[in-house]
């Protein structure tokens, strides 16, 4: 599930050619101070202290985070901000119980104090620990890794970013009937250092780009209003992501379609064949496949918050999750994936593995302390924390649906539908606490009649149950229809943490799904 609910996005590099003043994204004194911090030496101090205290295992993360945001509405800039965040967290395992402590004060004295705090917590809890935590072995790793980007967005002048957004806003609001537009850019940089008593040490540098735009069309006389957000999503990528004409095109379309939704035909509730575009389907995959295959949920570790799963370990290799054409895989190496890294937060190398193969559920998302609980000898590398100050725990990798091997197009899928609806983009979303019953809205909806695309619809949501839904999937698009989308604020855990995760998929067709009309003046089922 998402914390405050997700981000959606798209492009053009339309610059006037004005000379932009370079604003260096450096904090000279602070950066110099942080650079002077020898993370390796500090880590050694923490790990040595942990060993001396009798810990069975310990690790430390010393991380720096930079964030930059620009928010606009219509032709004004609401805020431009930069944040810089630096600190460390120590995790220890003592007599089968975890302890964790963290501080923003990165000095040898603080390292010692915080390590002892983590130990005190683990020791206090170990007295009551019934089943000691055990870790699956992991290869010792000493490595550096950098995410893929051509242009570091933190080196791009702020004026260029402002100009990009204001131009999109202008294009969006030009549509007749479009009333308001908000847009924004956020950039994230993670500079992560990890070391453990197993001898592993990793340094990773990650850049992510998160754009969004949303248009509102208001009919003042009736009091009705409709919105349309952009369709592309955040990615692990640099500023080059925004230098593409498709952003301008989608901004323009967003304005037109927000206004058109005011006059669109309300959907009649009932069962329909649905064709779901990747800009929509990624979220359904996230909620129904991504979360249901998290092993910690299945083992009740998330029972007090996000819930458990309808899948249990005994169903591995047996459960018919979906139709035979459904192949889902987890992949922390996927290019531009939000969860793509070199190593997870306990030094396990990123990998790709099947979750559902030919419709059968085959494997889980695991960490070093989860893997032994199902008899697995190794972790799949899913440990993550969203900050130096957050305790790491199992998080979702990129989970994607493989396209058809044949060259099947969107039009091919539409041609096979007599009475259906094509859905783009994400709207409302909700799923139950075992990942069965879900309900999703969207951004735009199009009637399909007798194999042809028809008029726009409105007030559409569909409701289904995960196993029935994926069994109803009877056709997939080919690789030419495959797109990657995702969210940077998927929420889980206590205390809740954000996770950035992507889901790739082709267009897909689902037969006879229950569709609601969400306008309360009509009856819904």
């Amino acid at each position: 599930m998402n914390l405050s609910r997700r981000d959606f996005v798209k492009s053009t590099g339309v610059l006037c050619g004005a000379v932009a003043t370079q604003l260096p994204w450096t904090l000279p004194a602070a950066t110099a101070e942080h650079s002077a911090v020898n993370r390796h030496d500090l880590a050694e101090q923490a790990l040595a202290r942990a060993r001396k205290l009798g810990c069975d295992y310990a690790d430390i993360r010393i991380n720096k985070y930079r964030r930059e945001s620009v928010f606009t509405r219509e032709q004004q800039v609401l805020n431009v901000s930069r944040t810089h965040d630096f600190g460390f967290g120590v995790r220890v395992l003592y007599k089968g119980a975890w302890g964790f402590a963290a501080s923003h004060i990165v000095t040898p004295q603080s390292i010692r104090k915080v390590t002892e705090q983590a130990f005190d917590i683990a020791r206090a809890n170990s007295r009551y620990q019934r089943k000691p935590i055990k870790l699956a072995p992991a290869e010792k790793v000493v490595a550096k890794w950098k995410s893929s980007f051509a242009k570091d967005p933190f080196d791009v002048p702020m004026e260029k970013k402002v100009e990009f957004l204001l131009k999109l806003n202008e294009l969006a609001i030009q549509a007749k009937g479009a009333s308001f537009v908000t847009s924004g850019l956020s950039f994230q940089n993670e500079d992560k250092f990890f070391a453990s008593t197993d001898g592993s040490e990793t340094e990773q540098y990650i850049i992510r780009t998160l754009p969004f735009l949303n248009v509102t069309a208001v009919n003042r006389s009736s009091g009705d209003f409709q919105t349309r957000g952009t369709l592309a999503g955040p990615k692990t990528i640099g500023y080059e992501y925004l230098e593409d004409s498709s952003w301008a095109e989608d901004a323009r379309k967003a304005g037109e379609e927000a206004a058109a939704k005011l006059k669109a035909k309300p959907v009649e509730p009932g069962k329909y064949d649905l064709i779901l575009h990747p800009s929509h389907l990624w979220l359904t995959i996230h909620e129904s496949v991504g979360h249901s295959t998290e092993l910690d949920r299945a083992l009740l570790w998330e029972a007090d918050y996000a819930g458990t799963s309808f899948i249990t370990p005994d169903k591995t290799g047996k459960l018919e999750f979906g139709s035979r054409i459904c192949n889902f895989y987890a992949d922390r190496t996927q290019p531009n994936g939000l969860a793509t890294v070199g190593y997870d937060d306990e030094g396990v190398q990123s990998q790709r593995w099947p979750i559902v193969k030919d419709g059968i559920f085959v494997d889980w998302q695991t960490t070093r302390d989860l893997a032994p609980l199902i008899g697995a000898t190794q972790s799949h590398g899913c440990l993550h924390s969203d900050s130096w100050g957050s305790v790491p725990f199992p998080r979702m990798p990129n989970v994607s649906l493989e396209p058809a091997k044949e060259n099947v197009s969107l039009d091919d899928l539409i041609g096979g539908v007599d009475d259906g609806i094509l859905i783009y983009g994400n709207g409302s979303w909700s799923i139950d606490h075992q990942r069965y019953n879900f309900q999703f809205g969207g951004q735009t909806f199009w009637e399909i009649k007798n194999g042809k695309l028809g008029e726009m619809l409105r007030d559409v949501a569909y409701q289904s149950r995960t196993p029935e839904f994926w069994h109803a999937c009877d056709a997939l698009g080919g690789s030419s229809t495959y797109e990657l989308n995702g969210a940077a604020n998927d929420g889980k855990g206590e205390p809740t943490q954000a996770n950035a995760v992507s889901h790739g998929c082709p267009v897909a067709r689902f037969r006879q799904i229950n569709v609601l009309n969400t306008n309360p003046s009509k009856k819904t089922t």
């Binding site: 604003l23 904090l27 602070a30 705090q117 006389s221």
Partner: protein, 445 residues
Amino acid sequence: MLSEKQSRDLCRKLLSYVKADDAVVSVSSEDYSHLRFAANGFTTSGRREDASAGVTVWIKKQRGSASANDLDEASLRDAVQQAEQIASTAPVDKEYLPTLGPQAYKPSSDYVDATVNLSLSHRAQAIDEIIRGCEKKDLIAAGFHHANGSTSGVATKNGNFYYERSSLASLSVTARTADGGASGYFLRNHFDIAKLDARRIGHEAMRKALESKNPRPMEPGTYPVILEAQAAGDLIRFGFDARNADEGRSPYSAPGGKTKLGQHIFDERINVYSDPWHPELPTSPVAQDGIPAQKMFFVRNGVLENLHYSRYWAHEKGKTPTPGPVNTILESTGKTHSLEEMISSMKKGLLVSRFWYIRGVDPRTALFTGLTRDGLWYVENGKIQYPVRNFRFNQSVLELLAPGNIEMIGKSERISSSESQGRGAELTPALMVKAFHFSSPSDAV
């Protein structure tokens, strides 16, 4: 954590580096600890200390912001420099208003030392007691205990300064039967850890789990319901933003470019107000941009009395900036009824313990969807008959509280919404209503 003097000194230092025409600076600190348990064992446990400094400046009405989590002199200077660099090339902030001068705040107190300095061993022992209680009843315990203290100091270039300190301890417990067929949940929080009754929280979660065994299926549809205070607090959210309403994109917008101000939108027995000095819900006495908060009504006797005007929007519309809300209190204007009275008077309907995964579906009507969770029972002829399997609902909050739909209102209780993990709190009563829309069954337990 930072004291008032330390915060004031740091704010002074930040302002001394500011060359911009106007600025607001802040320094904050936090001390946070948690213990999480699941499957009758401890899973993660930790603590974190953090601090940060934030700067927003305006140069010729051009705005820039920066923040960092180092409080040494070089870092503070750099944060100011970054903000001023951004402001120097940003477009004019058309919504800029000068920061406030000195204000007077009536103090409110929601801080207790003992909450921040809780004993690790006592906490571990208290949680162990709950787990042992579950084991005795063949239940599987999960839950989350956390406690924090935080401070915030804010100063403006025009001379305002305020300092706040708060604490909060929270505990949620989920108890599941061993066969996974039933579950119960309870969550409470308080700024004073001495008032957080861990035993009661554990007991209630266990009771609801045991009373939810062998749930029966029911057809979805529209039913009379009793919402426990937790359920009401999970679902009911108010966003009284005046600008959205004036712009025609809010449930409080009305046709013809008007708003619903002055209209009878809720049952006449309902008040919704904010009060920073309420003894059960003390909170910050500082509203938006440093305006001193006041006790104020948004809904009184069911009538929409106020919308929230930001300083900028108030300036545009010739209104007074709204000194709130800083908390939310939903209360009956008259006689209240206990949960037992509500159950006794129900002919046929459902008793809902709480809701989950609530998301907006249609902002025009405040239509939300979500699920029931951890306790749903069928009531007939004044008695709870049996537990029922969960439902998905699609329900408009405006319709829920509308005139004619409310039967009884309970005494308002301090609750925290489930999805907030006990981070916030409000005062919300149990509600008995005539019609609530359940749209489909859910197998989830």
